[in-house]
């Protein structure tokens, strides 16, 4: 008798490890484009190169697959924000945060789209994570930014909307990739667009926050 997912022995076999990886990879392909409702198990099965019942042997439902995928990706996705350091100096921290986020938009566009799809649908599967861990992390970093402003290191500004604007501008290059390519045209839609974006955004945020214009405080 086959007991799906973690049988008698609580340890996962090599095959489980491999196949679950394979499935989540395919699921990311599909969910990130069509969203939860618009994706089908058959699609995922085809991309994964295995039969539908075989998928369902590892993940009992479509929801379970989506859930597992979100859980796995969420940590990675928030890493750049976690790396945001209170002890660093504002300019380099903001610069590297923008760069890191842009690199993720370039290297992991599917992950970005997965979350975007989830948000558009009202975050029915991750609302708790948003209100819990995410909010706490943002609150913490917002406090850092506020302290910088108080110390006169950057211009006074709403730290939450600053974070939102960095999120949105960078993720835009993953989520709206088709639009960006279409508008830039063939000449400028090459890989260099991420460099151009980085240059522009760094300039915008550094100057916009007057990071360097302020005399060294303390």
């Amino acid at each position: 008798m086959a007991i799906p997912r973690a049988a008698k022995t609580q340890r996962r076999t090599r095959i489980q490890e491999e196949k679950e990886e394979q499935i989540l990879e395919a699921a990311l392909d599909v969910f990130s484009v069509s969203g939860f409702r618009g994706s089908t198990i058959d699609q995922i099965a085809e991309v994964a190169g295995m039969s539908k019942p075989n998928l369902l042997y590892y993940f009992r439902t479509k929801e379970a697959m989506h859930r597992a995928l979100i859980d796995r990706v969420l940590d990675t996705w928030l890493e750049p924000l976690r790396a945001f350091d209170a002890d660093g100096n504002p300019e380099s921290e903001i610069r590297s945060y923008i760069r890191r986020k842009l690199e993720m938009a370039r290297d992991f566009p599917r992950e970005s789209r997965l979350f975007a799809n989830e948000m558009l649908q009202g975050a029915p599967h991750v609302e708790d994570e948003l209100k819990g861990p995410l909010k706490e992390l943002v609150d913490e970093k917002a406090e850092v930014i506020r302290s910088w402003a108080k110390a006169g290191k950057i211009a006074k500004c709403d730290p939450y909307h600053l974070i939102f604007s960095i999120w949105s501008t960078t993720q835009h290059y993953a989520d709206f990739d088709v639009q960006v390519r279409a508008v830039l045209g063939q000449e400028h839609a090459g890989a260099g667009r991420f460099e151009d974006a980085a240059r522009f955004l760094e300039q915008l945020f550094i100057d916009g926050l007057k990071v360097k214009c302020v005399p060294n405080a303390s």
Copy 2:
């Protein structure tokens, strides 16, 4: 015998006018949340308060409904960018463009999400509009911005990425509304968040582009 959509008389009846409006309104509700693939005719029919065959009497296929919806919304959506005036002065033009886009995110979030969904899925239904009319419009406005930079009225910057960043930051408040609310928490997620966003974004872009720091040219 009933000939669907524009019968013998080429003029549309009052009922046609009303029902089509009613259907597109419902379709906007549904498509904007679930995307094209994730939405069903039955859902739309239920929201519209009419039977499924009745919907299909006015729009022969799901695609036709989506198409009509996109067409209707696209014009409205690009209006703020069209209003972007070359003869105006940079500061007020950029300020009012940001305000207008934020107002649209506030007042027409479903329209914003409809497009966002379409982009995430690779724009299978609107790619031509992106490469054609949209690109031309952006090219034109980018030229305006470039001329401002050349005249020393604003800092030198990539006009395309400037436009992208205004799009993304403003639409973020519609597309990622759940996330914004979750992170801001109950205290700050009220209607005032749009005012806060406007203040922040205006400051960011005006200062970031050094609009006022530059001595009056010519």
